[in-house]
C-alpha cells in the first residue's frame, strides 16, 4: 500500500504517462468511436493532468517532489537512473501547459468538426512532451522530450494538409527545430564525455569544481542554441512566424502560450543548474540581455508590419519572449520572478487573442486585416474582447501582463540597465498597438480605407476550420476565451501573486538546494521571502503609459494619411522594414544559415570575455 507521500512522488511520472496511454487508446478506438466520446476522453485526460499537476504544485511549495524513475535511487550521491523533479517553476509551467491543452480541446469541441481522433491523439502527445520537458531533471531526457513535443508539434502544424502554406510552415518548423536539437545533443554528448553523467543535480555537483575550459563553453553554446531555437530568439526565430501563421488556431494557443516560453525556461533551468557556477555571470548576463533586447525590437517591428493577423500575433510572441529573456537574463531572483509572472500573464492574453483569431477566421473566412475592413462592425461582444485583449497585451493594469512587465522593469533597473523600462514600454505599446489597429479596422471600420499591398503574406488564403462559415460565435469557443482573459486578470488582482513568484524564483535559482534535495532526498529549507505587494506606483504608471501609447500607435496607423507627421516618419521606417521583411524569406536554407551564424555569434559573445 502506497503512503500519501509516495503517491505524491509518483505524480511527475503519472502526469507524463497518462496522456501517452490515453493517446494510444484514442488511436485504437478512434476509427469507430463517435466524435463526442473522443472529445470526452481527450478533455477528461487533460483535466486529470491539470488536477495532478495542481496537487504537485501545491506540494512543491513545501519542498521539491523527487521521483527517481524505476527506483534507481542514488547511492552516495551517484545514480545512473533518471530523475523527475517537481519544483514550483517546473510544476507551474507544466500546469500552464495542461490548462492550455484543456482549453484548446474544449475550443475544438464543436469547432474543428472535420477532424478525426488523430488530432486529439497528437494534442495529448504534445501535452506529454511539454510536461515531461518541464519536469525532467535529466539533460538527455530534455532532448528526448524536446523532440517528442517537436514531432507532435510538426504534425499539428501541418494538420491542414490540403493547405499549401501549412505544409511549408510545418517543414520549416521541423527542419529548424530538429537541427537545433541535434546541435544541442552534440553539447550534451560533450558534457557527458567530461562528467560521465547527465542528471542535472549530478552535473551541478561535478561541474562546480571545474574551471571554464573550451569544452564547457562549447557545450554551453550548443545546448543554448537548441533551447533558443525553441524559444525563438533572433536569429533562431524564423520558423516561428511560418509555423504559427499556418497551424490550426487551438494549436497556436499552445505554441505561443507555452511551447515557446518553455524554450526560455529550459535555457535558465540548464544555466542555473549546470553552468552558473562555472561560467562568469557577467558575460552570460550580457549575452542574454543583448539577445533578448534584439529579439524584442525585431519582433515588435515585424509585428506592426503584418497584415495577416495570426502572423502578427506570432511576431508579437517573438517580441514578448525577448522581454522574458531580458527579465530572467538579469540573473536575479526578482528578474526571474518578473519573467514567471510575465509568461503566465502573456499566456492568458496571447492565447485568448489566438482563439479570437480563430473566431475571425471561421466567421469571415480570412484573417487578413485589409480584406476584412469594416466586416465585423455588427458584432457585439467579440469586438470588445479584441479591444480588451489588445490593451492587456500592451500591459494595461491590473492584467497579469502588466504585473510581469512592472516586476521585470524593476529588475532591469536594479541590475543597472536603465533602458530596460523604455524597452518594455515601447515593445508592449507597439505589439498592443498592432492588435488594436487590426481591431479598429476590422471590427470598428475605423480609419482610412487601407491600400492593398503585397509586401507581406496575406491572410486571405487561410483554410477555415469549420465546414461552413459560422453565423455566430459558439459558446464552446467563447468560454475558453473568457476563462483565459479572466485568468490573466486574476493573476494581477489576486494578492500574493508577486510574492509566490518571488518564492518560486528563489527556489528556481537555488541550484545547490536542488542538487542536494534530489541526490540525498533531504528537504532543504530555503530562506523566507519578505512579503511584497503586487503593485508599485511606478509599475501602474508605466503600464498605463504603454497602454496609452498603444492606442496612439493604433490611431496613428489608422489615420496615417491625415497625420502628415506620422506618414513622413513612417516612410523612412518602411524602407528599413522592407529590408527586414526580405530576410524572412520562407526559405529553409536561409533559416539554417542564420541558425549557424547565430550559434557562432553566441560562442563569440560567451567565449571571448573568458580569454
Amino acid at each position: 500500500m502506497l503512503s500519501y507521500d509516495d503517491t505524491v512522488s509518483l505524480l511527475p511520472a503519472l502526469a507524463v504517462a497518462v496522456p501517452i496511454v490515453a493517446a494510444c487508446v484514442l488511436l485504437m478506438i478512434g476509427r469507430r468511436a463517435p466524435r463526442p466520446l473522443v472529445d470526452g476522453i481527450a478533455a477528461a485526460t487533460s483535466a486529470g493532468v491539470v488536477a495532478m499537476l495542481a496537487v504537485l504544485l501545491a506540494h512543491a511549495g513545501n519542498g521539491r517532489v523527487i521521483n527517481w524513475v524505476g527506483r534507481w535511487h542514488p547511492k552516495n550521491g551517484y545514480s545512473v537512473g533518471i530523475v523527475l523533479v517537481g519544483d514550483e517553476v517546473g510544476a507551474g509551467v507544466a500546469l500552464l501547459a495542461a490548462c492550455l491543452v484543456l482549453l484548446a480541446l474544449i475550443y475544438s469541441w464543436r469547432y474543428f468538426e472535420g477532424v478525426e481522433a488523430h488530432y486529439h491523439c497528437l494534442m495529448l502527445l504534445f501535452l506529454a512532451g511539454m510536461v515531461g520537458f518541464a519536469l525532467t531533471g535529466d539533460l538527455f531526457d530534455m532532448f528526448v522530450f524536446f523532440e517528442l513535443m517537436g514531432a507532435a508539434a510538426y504534425a499539428l502544424t501541418g494538420f491542414k494538409v490540403e493547405d499549401a502554406t501549412a505544409v511549408q510552415g510545418a517543414l520549416n518548423f521541423g527542419i529548424i527545430n530538429s537541427l537545433g536539437a541535434y546541435i544541442g545533443l552534440i553539447g550534451i554528448g560533450a558534457l557527458f564525455a567530461r562528467v560521465g553523467n547527465l542528471t542535472l543535480p549530478q552535473l551541478h555537483e561535478a561541474l562546480a569544481k571545474h574551471p571554464p575550459d573550451a569544452l564547457i563553453v562549447a557545450s554551453f553554446v550548443a545546448v543554448l542554441t537548441a533551447f533558443l531555437v525553441k524559444g525563438a530568439m533572433v536569429p533562431f526565430h524564423f520558423w516561428l512566424a511560418d509555423a504559427h501563421a499556418v497551424a490550426p488556431t487551438p494549436v497556436c494557443v499552445l505554441f505561443s502560450g507555452v511551447m515557446v516560453p518553455l524554450g526560455v525556461y529550459a535555457v535558465f533551468r540548464v544555466y542555473w543548474l549546470v553552468f552558473a557556477d562555472v561560467l562568469p555571470g557577467s558575460a552570460v548576463r550580457r549575452t542574454f540581455i543583448v539577445l533578448g533586447a534584439l529579439t524584442a525590437v525585431i519582433g515588435a517591428v515585424m509585428c506592426f508590419a503584418q497584415r495577416h493577423f495570426k502572423r502578427l500575433l506570432a511576431y508579437s510572441t517573438i517580441a514578448h519572449v525577448g522581454l522574458f529573456l531580458v527579465a530572467a537574463g538579469c540573473l536575479t531572483e526578482s528578474g526571474t520572478a518578473g519573467a514567471l509572472l510575465y509568461v503566465a500573464g502573456h499566456a492568458g492574453v496571447k492565447s485568448a487573442l489566438f482563439l479570437l483569431a480563430g473566431v475571425m477566421l471561421n466567421r469571415y473566412g480570412s484573417v487578413d486585416e485589409i480584406d476584412l475592413f469594416g466586416r465585423g462592425r455588427d458584432t457585439r461582444l467579440t469586438k470588445w474582447l479584441f479591444v480588451i485583449g489588445g490593451l492587456a497585451l500592451a500591459g494595461l493594469p491590473p492584467f497579469g501582463t502588466a504585473l510581469g512587465k512592472a516586476v521585470g522593469e524593476e529588475a532591469g533597473l536594479s541590475s543597472g540597465y536603465e533602458w530596460v523600462p523604455v524597452l518594455f514600454v515601447a515593445v508592449s505599446a507597439v505589439t498592443g498597438g498592432a492588435v488594436l489597429r487590426v481591431t479598429g479596422r476590422v471590427y470598428f471600420g475605423l480609419g482610412d480605407p487601407p491600400r492593398p499591398s503585397d509586401r507581406s503574406t496575406s491572410g486571405s488564403q487561410e483554410e477555415t476550420e469549420v465546414p461552413r462559415l459560422l453565423p455566430r460565435v459558439r459558446i464552446t469557443m467563447l468560454v475558453p476565451i473568457l476563462v483565459l482573459l479572466l485568468g490573466a486578470l486574476a493573476l494581477g488582482v489576486l494578492p500574493g501573486a508577486h510574492e509566490a513568484a518571488e518564492r518560486a524564483a528563489g527556489h528556481f535559482i537555488d541550484s545547490a538546494a536542488y542538487a542536494k534535495e534530489a541526490l540525498s532526498g533531504v528537504a532543504v529549507h530555503a530562506a523566507a521571502v519578505p512579503p511584497v505587494g503586487n503593485w508599485t506606483l511606478s509599475g501602474v504608471l508605466l503600464g498605463l503609459l504603454s497602454a496609452g501609447l498603444a492606442v496612439l500607435c493604433a490611431a496613428g496607423a489608422l489615420y496615417s494619411r491625415r497625420v502628415g507627421v506620422w506618414e513622413r516618419a513612417t516612410r523612412g521606417l518602411d524602407r528599413g522594414v522592407d529590408g527586414l521583411r526580405a530576410l524572412h524569406s520562407g526559405h529553409v536554407g536561409d533559416y539554417v544559415a542564420w541558425l549557424m551564424t547565430g550559434m557562432v555569434a553566441l560562442g563569440a559573445f560567451v567565449g571571448i570575455p573568458l580569454r
Binding site: 490540403e162 499549401a164 521541423g174 524569406s585
Partner: protein, 116 residues
C-alpha cells in the same frame, strides 16, 4: 579515444547543415538533416568507446566484469537518438510529399507562400 572521432562527428553535423543551406530539393534537405544527426551518433559512440573493451553484456546474476567494458549509457542514448531520427525523418518526408502535391515543386527556392 583519439580526438579524430570527435572532429568527424562535428564535421558530419556541419556538412549536413551545409547541405540543407544549399539544397534545391526538399527530400534532399530532409536527408541532409538525418546526415547531420548521424554526427550525433558518432559523437555518442565515441564518448563511450574504449580500446580493447568488451561489450557491456553481463551474465545473470551479474558478475563483476574483469575487463573494461564500453559505456552502456551512451549506447542507449544513441539507440534513442535513432528512434527519434526515424520518427522525424518519416514525418518530414511525408510533409515533403504533401508539399509536392500542393505546390507542384519540391525546390525551396520556388516556394513563395510564406514571406515577410
Amino acid at each position: 579515444m583519439s580526438v579524430y572521432a570527435y572532429l568527424v562527428a562535428v564535421f558530419v553535423l556541419l556538412v549536413g547543415a551545409f547541405g540543407i543551406v544549399r539544397s534545391r530539393n526538399l527530400v534532399h534537405a530532409v536527408v541532409c538533416l538525418s546526415i547531420a544527426q548521424s554526427g550525433t551518433y558518432i559523437l555518442l559512440l565515441a564518448v563511450g568507446y574504449q580500446s580493447k573493451a568488451t561489450p557491456p553484456v553481463f551474465g545473470s546474476p551479474a558478475t563483476k566484469p574483469t575487463k573494461a567494458v564500453a559505456e552502456p549509457l551512451v549506447q542507449a542514448m544513441a539507440l534513442t537518438d535513432i528512434v527519434v531520427s526515424a520518427t522525424v525523418t518519416a514525418l518530414l518526408l511525408a510533409i515533403a510529399v504533401q508539399i509536392h502535391k500542393r505546390h507542384n515543386t519540391v525546390d525551396p527556392n520556388e516556394l513563395a507562400a510564406l514571406r515577410g
